[in-house]
Symmetry: C2
Subunit: 212 residues, 2 copies
C-alpha cells in the first residue's frame, strides 16, 4: 500500500534523523554513526545518498525550509485594504506562527534546526535569508505599514516587525526556562493560546502606539 520504496525510505529516515540531531545537538556534535543508528541504517548510506555529512545537512535544511513555508503560507496572497483589516491579518499570522512554533508536535525538531542555522554562520544561512526570511518580513512590513499608516519600507516599520517576531521566537528558544519559571509541565494548545492572546494584545498595543 502506501509504503515507500526502500531507497526513499532510507533517504527520508536519514533526513528526519538529521533534522532532529543537527537541531538539538548541533552539526559538529552529531556523528555519522549517531545519524545512521537513529535512521536505522548504515553509515555508508549517508555518503551514498547525500555525498557525505555536509550533503545530508544541506538536504535537511532544504526540507526544513519547505515545511516551515508550508505552515506560514505563501508570501503573495495578502490583500490589505484598510488599517483594521491589515491589523486583523497580522494577528491571524501571528497566531498561526505561535501555534506552529510553540505547540506543534513536529515543531521542536524543525524550530531547533532553524535556530541552529540562524545562529551558526553556515552556508545555508544565505539561502534561508533570501528565500525565506526576507520575502516574509517584507510582507509583514506591508501589512504593518497599512495598519499604522506608515511607509512599509521605513526603518521604523522594519524594526517594529523584527521586534514582534522576536517576541514569538523567544517562546521557542527559551521554552525550557519559560516552563520552569511559570510552572507549566509543557505547552499544549491551551498554553499556546494564552501566549498568543498576550502577543496579540501586545501587537495591537504596538500598532496603536505607532499609528500617526
Amino acid at each position: 500500500m502506501g509504503t515507500e520504496s526502500a531507497p526513499l525510505q532510507t533517504r527520508n529516515s536519514l533526513v528526519e534523523a538529521a533534522i532532529h540531531l543537527f537541531g538539538h545537538r548541533g552539526f559538529g556534535q552529531t556523528s555519522t554513526r549517531e545519524l545512521a543508528a537513529r535512521a536505522g541504517t548504515n553509515i555508508a548510506s549517508i555518503a551514498y545518498h547525500f555525498g557525505g555529512k555536509a550533503g545530508l545537512h544541506a538536504a535537511s535544511a532544504r526540507e526544513v525550509a519547505a515545511r516551515i513555508g508550508a505552515v506560514l503560507g505563501s508570501p503573495e496572497n495578502i490583500s490589505p485594504t484598510n488599517p483594521t483589516e491589515a491589523a486583523a491579518q497580522l494577528e491571524a499570522m501571528l497566531r498561526r506562527f505561535v501555534a506552529f512554533l510553540v505547540a506543534a508536535p513536529e515543531a521542536p525538531d524543525i524550530a531547533a534546526f532553524m535556530l541552529r542555522e540562524l545562529t551558526d554562520p553556515g552556508e545555508v544561512a544565505d539561502l534561508i535569508y533570501a528565500e525565506f526570511l526576507e520575502p516574509r518580513h517584507r510582507m509583514l512590513c506591508q501589512l504593518w505599514g497599512v495598519a499604522t499608516g506608515r511607509s512599509p519600507e521605513s526603518e521604523e516599520v522594519k524594526l517594529a516587525v523584527f521586534a514582534m517576531l522576536g517576541q514569538v521566537l523567544y517562546f521557542r528558544i527559551g521554552q525550557p526556562y519559560v516552563l520552569r519559571r511559570i510552572g507549566w509541565a509543557g505547552i499544549g494548545p491551551d498554553e499556546a493560546g494564552r501566549i498568543a492572546d498576550l502577543l496579540s494584545a501586545n501587537l495591537h498595543a504596538m500598532i496603536e502606539r505607532h499609528r500617526t
Copy 2:
C-alpha cells in the same frame, strides 16, 4: 606595574579564548588545540587549570554570567514606589540591556556564548537559570507588577516580561539579518539608540495595555 601574575594570565587568556570560540563555533566544533592556540599557551594548560575541556567551558560560563550581571546591576536594589516610577525603572533597565547586548564592543562574544548556552541543553543551563535568569526575571516581574497594578507573580505578568526580553534578544540573535534587511553597515550607539527608542515605546504601549 599592573601586569598579572603568569598563571592568572594563562587562565584568563584561556577563558577569553573559550568565550569567543565556544560562543561563535560551539562547544563540539571547538578543539582544545584551537583554544590553546588562540590563548597563546599549551594544550596541557587546559587540563591543568580547568581539569579538561568541560571544566574550561564551565569556568567560561561563570565568567559570562558575572559580566552580564555587572551590566544589568544586582537584582536587589529596586525600589518601586508608584507605577510611573516603576515604568521608568523598567525603561532604564531595558535601555541598559539593549545598549550592552546590541552595541557594546565586548558583547558579541558574551552574547554568542550565552545564546549557545540557552539553546544547548548543557549542564550549565541549570546554573544560568537558577543564579541569573530566575532572580532577574523575578525582579522585572516585580517592577512590571507595580507598573501595571497586577500581581507580580501572575502568569500574565511572567509571560509579558518574557515577551519583552524576547524583543531585545532577537536584535542580537538575528543581528546579521536585521543589518541586511535594513541596510545598516553595523550597529553603533546611533542605531542601538533607535532600537532602544522603539522598544521603549513598545514597553510603554504594553504597560498601558495591561493596566487594569
